[in-house]
Structures are given as structure tokens and as C-alpha cells.
Symmetry: C3
Subunit: 344 residues, 3 copies
């Protein structure tokens, strides 16, 4: 049931955030908004300098501001070093995502050999296999399936219709969005004179702590050794991570990326949407890859990488594409010109 809308005084919010309060400490806030749309009971934030002019006209009941931005602002303000981070922290206060009731829903199927603490919330139709171990305060939403011997740390949330296959391991505070499939078999086959012979996938998926995995994302189990997702990795929707991939700490992977088998991604990398990596390559730490780039070999230096062509009107693009097919010919003709050879 929808609980009453949460409400906080600016005083209370300032204390939670460790912010300096300017203005009316008793002013009540019941939500968040953008500078342009926030109402008098909402708090807004200024993180991107291009929105600074909106400070003059905002109706927000208060604004999260840096000391510099707060200087000329006469309204209510919470002043701190990182307003965007403070905004993120405040969203937790106003979140109303429901969760299953404490305990195990009558329609769930939980193996007698599973360890489910009293602090767990197990939703309708959930299936928990043999020898599964759940940490404290886990929330397993309706329709999720945890196969035999899965191990889950404390404070994890596994959303509806997620499947976690046998023997996979999750750390603490792991959030897996709906429909994600963890630990399905990797795509491994040997070719026997034209026939594909399945290679059973004997490894696991091992996920660290503070990891976030998006809706309908798939992370395959390893062939012999494990697929590894390290601490503080965040992965968006519909990402495909193949068997034996390793994703390093703090890396972010946006939607629709595909990471081929046995590739290793370093720490604190950012892959934009739709990026593809071939298999068996290594990306070093602190690499950014722009959207829809195809990465065909290892990257050994930090920095930003891209591929693809800019988009254009289709008719111009078609001309370009034709010219591109003849680029080798064009280069030869330039060489001939340089050498004073007659044109053909």
C-alpha cells in the first residue's frame, strides 16, 4: 500500500546531507524536481552550469547549491560541495518502490535445504532451490528463480522474473533488475565435422558487492573458470556478458553492450550504449568507449575510443558509402598524381 508521502523539513535534510542551510529551516519538502519544474514543496539542484540562469526563476522550495552558486541566490538553499551527489542521496528518501511482505509468500517454492533468514522478503511465486544461502534483509521479488546452491550476500534485491542459475555467487548490496539472467550456459561448442558438440559450462558467475545489473541483461557462466563482475560495477539493461569475461571494479556499462567471451575490462572504465567487444581482448583501466563502437583489439592506454561514421541525410550518406568503397582506388590515384603519372 502507498504509504503517506514522506515529508522533511529543510533542517532535517541539511542534517542528513551535512549541508549548510540558508533560509527557512522549517520549510517542508515532500519531493524532488528540476529547477524548471519544481514546486514550492520540492527541492531542486544545480549541477550543470548551463542551467544556472534558471536559479532566477525557479519555484523550487529550496535548491542544492555549491558555495559559489549560492552566493547570489536569495531563496532557501542547502549548500555543499557536490549538489548532484546530494540530489542522489535525497532520492533514497522519496523512493516508494514497494517490496514483498516480510517472510515467505505462501505461493513461493522454497527448498527445505535453503537458508532463508527471518529478515528476508520473498515474493509470490518465487522459486528457491536446494542449498541456496541468502544473507540478511534480502528482497526477492515475485517470479524470481534462484537455482540450487546460489549464494547471496546481505541486503540484495533480486527483482521479478530474474533467474540466477546454480552455484552463482552474489556479494552484498547487489541489485538485479527484472528479467536479467545470471549464469546461463556460455555459448561454447566444438565443431565435429559440421555438427556442433555442446561444451558444458562448468564455471560460475561471481558478482562482487555494490553491483547493479539492468533489466533483461544476461551474464553467462564460465566454461571452466568463472565469469567475474567486481565490486561497484554498474550495468544497464539488455547488456550481454559472455562466459569468462572479467569486469573490473567501478566500471559502468550502458545499455545494449555486448562483451564477447574471455575479454577483460579494467577498472573505472565507461562503455557507452551499444558498444561491442570481440573476445579474448583486454581493456586497461580508465578507458572510455563512445556509443556503438566496435572494439576489435586490446586497449593498453587510458583514454577515449570510438568507431563508426557520423550520420547524415540518407542520400548524402549513400554517396559517401559509394565513395568509401572506392577509397583504395582514390588513394592510388593521388599517389599517381604525386608521382606525375598520367591519370587513367
Amino acid at each position: 500500500m502507498l504509504s503517506a508521502k514522506p515529508e522533511f523539513t529543510l533542517q532535517a535534510l541539511a542534517e542528513k546531507l551535512g549541508a549548510q542551510l540558508r533560509g527557512n529551516a522549517a520549510h517542508c519538502i515532500n519531493g524532488l524536481g528540476t529547477l524548471s519544474n519544481a514546486q514550492s514543496q520540492q527541492i531542486a539542484f544545480l549541477a550543470n552550469p548551463r542551467y544556472k540562469p534558471q536559479l532566477a526563476t525557479t519555484n523550487a522550495g529550496a535548491v542544492l547549491l555549491t558555495p559559489a552558486d549560492a552566493e547570489n541566490f536569495s531563496g532557501n538553499a542547502l549548500v555543499l560541495a557536490n549538489p548532484y551527489l546530494a540530489f542522489a542521496q535525497l532520492t533514497a528518501l522519496f523512493d516508494q518502490t514497494p517490496q514483498p511482505a516480510l517472510g515467505i509468500h505462501a505461493s513461493a517454492s522454497v527448498s527445505a535445504t535453503a537458508m532463508v533468514p527471518a529478515s528476508a522478503r520473498i515474493g509470490a511465486g518465487v522459486v528457491i532451490g536446494e542449498e541456496v544461502v541468502l544473507g540478511e534483509r534480502c528482497v526477492i521479488d515475485a517470479g524470481a528463480v534462484l537455482h540450487d546452491r546460489v549464494s547471496v550476500g546481505d541486503d540484495c534485491r533480486i527483482h521479478s522474473n530474474v533467474v540466477v542459475h546454480h552455484d552463482c555467487v552474489l556479494g552484498n548490496r547487489v541489485n538485479i533488475c527484472a528479467g536479467a539472467i545470471i549464469g546461463a550456459d556460455g555459448f561454447g561448442f566444438a565443431n565435429d565435422r559440421g555438427r556442433w558438440q555442446k561444451i558444458y559450462q562448468l564455471g560460475r558467475v561471481v558478482i562482487g558487492s555494490d553491483v547493479d545489473i539492468g533489466a533483461n541483461t544476461t551474464i553467462d557462466r564460465g566454461a571452466l573458470e568463472d565469469t567475474e563482475i567486481h565490486d561497484q560495477v554498474i550495468i544497464d539493461n539488455q547488456v550481454q556478458i559472455a562466459h569468462n569475461v572479467v569486469v573490473g571494479q567501478g566500471t559502468a556499462i550502458a545499455a545494449c553492450c555486448g562483451i564477447s567471451g574471455s575479454s577483460r575490462i579494467g577498472r573505472y572504465c565507461i562503455l557507452a550504449g551499444g558498444v561491442g567487444l570481440v573476445g579474448h581482448i583486454e581493456i586497461c583501466d580508465h578507458v572510455q568507449i563512445t556509443g556503438m563502437t566496435m572494439v576489435t583489439k586490446s586497449i593498453t592506454e587510458p583514454g577515449s575510443y570510438s568507431s563508426g561514421t557520423a550520420f547524415d541525410h540518407t542520400d548524402k550518406w549513400k554517396k559517401m558509402a559509394v565513395r568509401l568503397r572506392r577509397l583504395d582506388d582514390l588513394a592510388t590515384r593521388v599517389r599517381n598524381l604525386e608521382q606525375g603519372k598520367p591519370s587513367l
Copy 2:
């Protein structure tokens, strides 16, 4: 259970379609087919002029034709302005997609506070949360999960294993194919000195009427405001729509597209398969984008847009790719030639 195969006289079909009937009004039709494959109890259609020669040899029991195409055709015909549309309308007559029995399946978990009309069909294992409101004649297939406070209009179909998260809103006649995830959390994080701080997603997904959403597609809820899918939008399988995207009326999005956060797509646009949009851009009405195009900035004029390179034999493509890396050098050499500078 499979009901008996439906059967209609040409007279009946002509009346349903408002078509002019030529030939045997009593002829019985029990299915649809292509001109080349239809049998004598099936009706075919001619929409693409390149198939016109097949009129001479078709075994179809009748053909949907324009007045012009019907002129020299001697078989049974239903004559009308738009044969392809008529074909689409006829498919509804022959569809035998099963649906759950009227009422609530014994294995479903429906909250006592949900409003489920007597006209609803709720399948096995369905989960319906608190304060969910269903319109008339909704069909919720086996394994679907509707979280708390979801609002669904009349005549919606939500297929198996779909998840609709809390507070999302669906209009009338919305069809959501199996495995789609509506309203999972958007991919929002603030960076706190290398650690990702989750931004709780406080908005909803609001879907208009007559919307069709494909299998395993994901549409994330908004961060502060809502993600919006307007009336008559059709979306194919495995599309990813990020938080706070707005898709305008009548737009079609083919499979595997990825739309990044806060982008706005206008009305009556067509995105072919695999198109990617970066975030925070705007596409005006009546834009077509060809397959696998990466759209990196706003589009302000209607028309067709493309990116990418034509495919080729891998060895030729490799040469082209090498030349492309040296394109800047080639342009400099051409400039030198034009200026009479010696080649290096």
C-alpha cells in the same frame, strides 16, 4: 482447446471489409495465404506491384485487389482501395491465439486491494499487487507480474512473464509481448569519488492507448518525471528505452533499437532495426532512420537519415578500413597537390 477453424463466405468477408464482391459470393474461405501459396479455401492479396504477374497463376479462392488491379482478373475478388489494410483486418478473423479462462486462475496471487473486473482473464501464476486497477476485458497471461498501483486501461493484453513495475500507467488496447519489462529503474548514478551512488528513480512509465510493445523490450521509469510512450506507438522486440524518453504519437521502433535517456522522438517517425540514439537529443516529426544508424545529435528536419559503411568482402573491407585511418593524410596530400607543393 483449438476451436473449429473459422470459415466465412466471400459475401460475409465483403460485408466486413466494405468491399465490392466479384465472383462467387457463396465461396467459403478458411484462411489467408500469399498469391503464390494460397489454396482454394484461402484468400490472398495484391499490395506490391511486383507480384502482379502471380495473379495469372494463383490458386487462391479469392484475392483482395484495387479496382485497377481487378480489371483483368477473372477469379473471385474483393475490390477495395487498400488491399494490404484489408488483409490486416482479415487476419483478426483467423487468429487463434488462446487466452486464459474468464476470471482469476487458482494459482494467481491477486491482492485484495486490486480492482479486477469480472471481465478480466488472469492466467496461471500471475501476480497482481496492491491497488492495481484493471480496466474491462484485460487479459493477463501466465507468469506476468503487475506491481503495486499499476493502472491498466480497457482491452489490454499483457503476455506471459511481462513485468510492469509500480505506479506505471497503461492506456486502452495496449499489447505488451512476453518478457517485456516496463518501469524498471533507469540507469542513474552520481559519482562520489569513484563510487557510484544510486539515484532512485521516482518517475513512472506512462503509456498511451493503442500501443504495442515487443517481446523482451525494456522501458525504464523516469528519474524525476515520467518516461512517456504516446498513443499508437509500435515498438518491436528487444528495444531499450531509457528513463525520461518521450516517444511521439504513431512512431514505429523496430527491433534492437536503443534510445538513451531524456531523448525525445517526434510523431510518425520510423526507426529501423538496431538504431541507437544518444541521450538528451530531439528528433522532429516524420523522420526515418535506416538500420543500425547512430544518431549523435538532434534532427530538426523531416527526412531520412543514415550512418555506417556498406558491407563488403572482409579482405576488401580491411583495405578500406586501413585507408580510412589514413584519410586525413590523404586529404592533406590532395591539398598539397592543389597548391603545387612537392609530395613527401
Copy 3:
């Protein structure tokens, strides 16, 4: 429950594989490993010549080797023609993927008109519709849904939360990974003056024998005729196969590929990850397509095909992209130089 770890003597493994045994026939093997990581109770393999130096230092209890590679190896060896194939065969011995208990789980919903042999294993929460027919020894994992009149051959495995829609047909030994959706409606609409009119999809998906389908993959049912996946096809995760596609025998499709409607892929083709095919084209037998290639027309000759641009540092790539937009201009300038026209 985890059964005791399986263990085999080298003698037993040699007999299973038809291999020549060199060394200690009584040595016990309880698992598989790579040459570099295998322990004394594990068996390794040498398939890729670049790992041959590891033979000198491996701790593996035995190695699968070709006669040539076995010549200078003094450890325990199983000698045979195709070590990688033998490795694949051995993985089956050590696989410990759990399966539901024999029979029908109490929480499953199985129609009285479905034919479920006593050899079937039906997991928790499974839903099986009317007139479904299962062959012998099928395993249907928790949360899977088989709609009315689905026909499944012998020895199939349908993993958790898979949906197979009505009337679809699976051959023998078909493996469908978790979350895959088989037979959802194809993306077919007629345009009625700006409004989309749904074309009901009257065909099925017909899948041959020995087919493997990855997690969260979607294969749509045909519009009038069937979508067909022939024998021995292997398909990875998150692949989208549209209505009326035909995939020929023995073809492999890696993750994130998208195949548009009515395209036909020949036999023994290999599509790498992220490949896209437009609709209504035909790919002949024995074609390889490299990663993220966009295939825009039919391919009539066997061979390897590619598209895209190599990735580079973003700043270099940006320069290239600008030059590429001006490629038509560059070609004109070269033509002018060749013709002795003055530069502009």
C-alpha cells in the same frame, strides 16, 4: 542436492573417448582445467598450437593430445584426433546442472489435456497449456510457460522463465536457455492513414532437432507461414529473429544479432556478435559475417563479409569522421587534378 563430485580413472575416460592412453591408467580425474591452471586431479587439453609451450610446465593430471603433440610429452595423455572435441565430450561428465525432480511439481499448472510422459521433469511454477505434447525425458524448469498446442520432442530442456507460444513445434534435443521467448507475434502492421493496424500473426515457429537457443533471445512466429530454425542451429543470447526468417542447418548466430523479417540464412553460416540483416534478403551457405556488420543485400557467394570502421582514439576518429563527410568533395578535387583543372 549436490551429488558427490564425479571421478573417473584415465582408463575409463580413454574408453569413453576411444582414445589411446599413455601413462597411468588408474590415475583419477575429477574435473577439467586449462593447461596453465589444471591441478593433478584434472585433465587439460591442447587444441591451439600457441599453448603448446605450456605442455612443459602443466600440472594437469593428464592431457588430451593429438598423436603429433603427444610425441614429446612425458605425462599422462589421452591421444586422439580432435582434443577440443574430446574436451567438449568430457564436459558432459562433469556437469552438475541441477534439474527438477521427476514428475510434476505441486506448484505447476498443467492442463488436463496436455500429454506429459512419466519421464518428464516439470519444475515449480511451470505452466503447460491445453493439448501440449511433450516427448520423453523433457526437463521444463521453474517458471517456464508452454502455451496451448505446443509440441516438444524428446530430451528437450526448456529453462526457467522461457515462454513458448501456442502451436510452436520443437524437435528432439532442443535446449532453450532462460528468458527466451519463442513465438511471440511478429512486428506486422498495415498503415491506415497514419494509424497502425495490427496484422495478426497466424504462422508458428518450427524448430528442428539439436538446436540451442540462448538466454533472452526472441524468435517471432510467422505472419502467414512459419518461422523456421533448422536442425543443429546454435543461437546465442539476446538474438532477435523476426517473423518468417529461415535459418539453415548447422548455422551459428552469436549474441545480439538481429535478423529482420523474411530473410533466409543458409546452412553452415557463422554470424559473429551484433550482426544485423535487413529483411527479405538471402544469405547463401557457408557465409561468415564479422561482428557488428550491417548486411543490406543478399549474399550469393560463400566467404567472409564485414562492414564498419576500425576503432581509434576519439580525437583521431572525430577528424576521420569529418573528412569522411567531405569524401565526395575530395574525390571531385582529385578528378580535377587529374584533368588539370585549377583547384578552387
